[in-house]
């Protein structure tokens, strides 16, 4: 018989390393043609950090996104970064890029103020222009200011920034301390169908709600959530690394089962944007957190469907059948 059930799981997850320094650094400069170059040590591994960091730079520098050239990938040439790990890149590298851009911008505004005969704090940047906040019609092209800054004033409009979350070591006695600067929160619901004869579980639908601070690129946040859920389904139901005496016994995709397009159900996701005061534009992160609630939500859904608790991942048909049998025996007593 096939039985359906629904389960939920919630989580919170910290960004960055636990109690240890994990800085990011960045460099930014306006170019005389009105474009900008930004160097970051953060590596885009497909999650889209390059896009997000360029968006942060574009907004901070006041120039269009497509005029940012973001350079990364060569550790000999770019500033230091602790790595594309710990769901830290948007938050920490994003802050470093923002600081670098702010420094470049403050030089740009100084020079522009001089050119326009006003005070720098009355100025801001947008869409390739430096403009007077109270009278936006009074403006000068960023390209002209950047050129003047370099060849007229001898003060290139460039800057660098580093960011390292403020943490403390944990007290060994009490466990108190501040291991992380920011946390994200999420909840997921899984709907499953369990075949009581074969023990097979089909995931019918996943609902996911994630707080990631301000979503700098909502489409990519959604992509991270969907990818994480697929990984979470594998973690919950099929992926089982067998290691014996240091050897992986199932090093192939034929025996280490990763979900295919047929195993991942429709996903409905929603983003909760609660701005993080210290995040760049209020952003936090989304990488790892996307997959954490999936497996426990599935296990709860299995319990809801057939009344057995699987406590050992993955929840294979064999384990579910064994538990169902136990349940039957107990009932018969």
């Amino acid at each position: 018989m096939k039985k359906r059930g629904r389960g939920m799981a919630c989580m919170y997850y910290p960004l960055g390393f636990t109690s240890y320094p994990n800085p990011s650094a960045a460099f930014a400069k306006y170019n005389p043609d009105g474009s900008a170059t930004v160097l970051t040590g953060a590596q885009d591994i497909g999650q889209g950090s390059g896009t997000v960091l360029a968006q942060i730079a574009a907004d901070t520098l006041g120039i269009p996104y497509d005029r940012i050239s973001l350079i990364y990938g060569d550790t000999q040439a770019v500033p230091m970064d602790a790595g594309s790990v710990a769901s830290r890149v948007t938050y920490i590298a994003g802050n470093a890029v923002k600081k670098a851009c702010e420094q470049a911008k403050s030089i740009l505004l100084d020079v522009a103020a001089d050119m326009l005969g006003v005070l720098p704090h009355g100025l801001d940047v947008a869409d390739g222009w430096v403009y007077l906040k109270d009278f936006p019609e009074k403006r000068v092209a960023i390209a002209d200011v950047a050129k003047t800054a370099e060849v007229g004033r001898g003060r290139p409009a460039q800057g660098h920034g580093t960011y390292n979350p403020a943490t403390t070591l944990l007290d060994k006695e009490t466990g108190h301390g501040k291991p992380y600067e920011a946390f994200v929160y999420a909840a997921q619901v899984a709907e499953v169908e369990v075949d009581t004869e074969t023990g097979e579980v089909e995931v019918l639908k996943i609902y996911a709600v994630h707080d990631c601070g301000k979503a700098i690129n909502p489409m990519m946040v959604e992509g991270q959530i969907e990818g994480g859920i697929a990984m979470g389904i594998g973690y919950g139901l099929t992926e089982n690394l067998v290691i014996e005496k240091g050897h992986v016994l199932n090093p192939q995709l034929a025996n280490y089962i990763v979900p295919t397009a047929l195993d991942v159900p429709p996903i409905e996701s929603a983003i909760v944007e609660i701005p993080e005061p210290k995040g760049p534009f209020g952003a936090k992160g989304i990488g790892e957190p996307s997959l954490l609630p999936t497996a426990p939500a599935i296990l709860n859904a299995i319990y809801d469907a057939v009344g057995v608790r699987i406590r050992d991942l993955p929840a294979t048909p064999e384990k579910i059948l064994a538990e169902l049998e136990k349940l039957e025996k107990e009932k018969a007593k």
Binding site: I45, G46, Q47, G48, M219, M220, E222, G223, I225, E226, G227, G228, I229, A230, M231, Q252, L253, A254, V258, T260, A261, L262, V264, P266, I267
Partner: protein, 166 residues
């Protein structure tokens, strides 16, 4: 063991005639990547499990890592390099970009070729047919949602333009 024999083969690659001297035990994947320099086709598992090496042989999606090169003599091969028409991207490629269907992108070339084979056969697939059509292509990043969406979108667009993009 004796040295594998060498074979002279000719086939069309993305519409152009090519020829190559291949060993009897060379795979099509190896010949494409190493001999002809077509590195768009990815080498993943090399055991027919991941789909990263998917190319079209006479219009059918196959794993290039499982086909011996001498077998493609006289046949028509399409790879990811032939999907765009010059600078004009294929509707599938455009839809993948618009929908954010790629993250690391490693599955992309194989995914796109499987999708092309599917749409050539079933121009208006259901979501389930799309999922079935790409079920031999593993993606570790996207959870497939945006890939499925992109393929559905491309199929609608191609229907609108009417038979273009073959």
């Amino acid at each position: 063991m004796t040295e594998a024999s060498t074979h002279h083969i000719r086939f069309t690659l993305n519409g152009s005639e090519v020829s190559a001297d291949v060993k009897a035990n060379d795979t099509l994947l190896n010949v494409l990547r190493e001999q002809l320099g077509y590195t768009g086709t990815k080498r993943g598992c090399e055991t027919g499990e991941c789909g990263a090496c998917t190319v079209l042989v006479d219009g059918k999606a196959v794993n290039a890592c499982l086909i011996l090169a001498p077998k493609v003599d006289g046949r028509a091969i399409q790879t990811i390099e032939g999907l765009a028409k010059g600078a004009e991207l294929h509707p599938l490629q455009k839809a993948f970009i618009e929908e954010g269907a790629l993250q690391c992108g490693f599955c992309g070339p194989g995914m796109l070729m499987s999708a092309k084979a599917l749409l050539d056969e079933i121009p208006n697939p259901t979501e389930d047919q799309v999922r079935r059509g790409i079920s031999g292509n593993i993606c570790r990043c996207t959870g497939y949602a945006k890939i499925v969406k992109a393929i559905m979108k491309a199929s609608r667009q191609m229907a609108r333009v009417g038979g273009e993009g073959a």
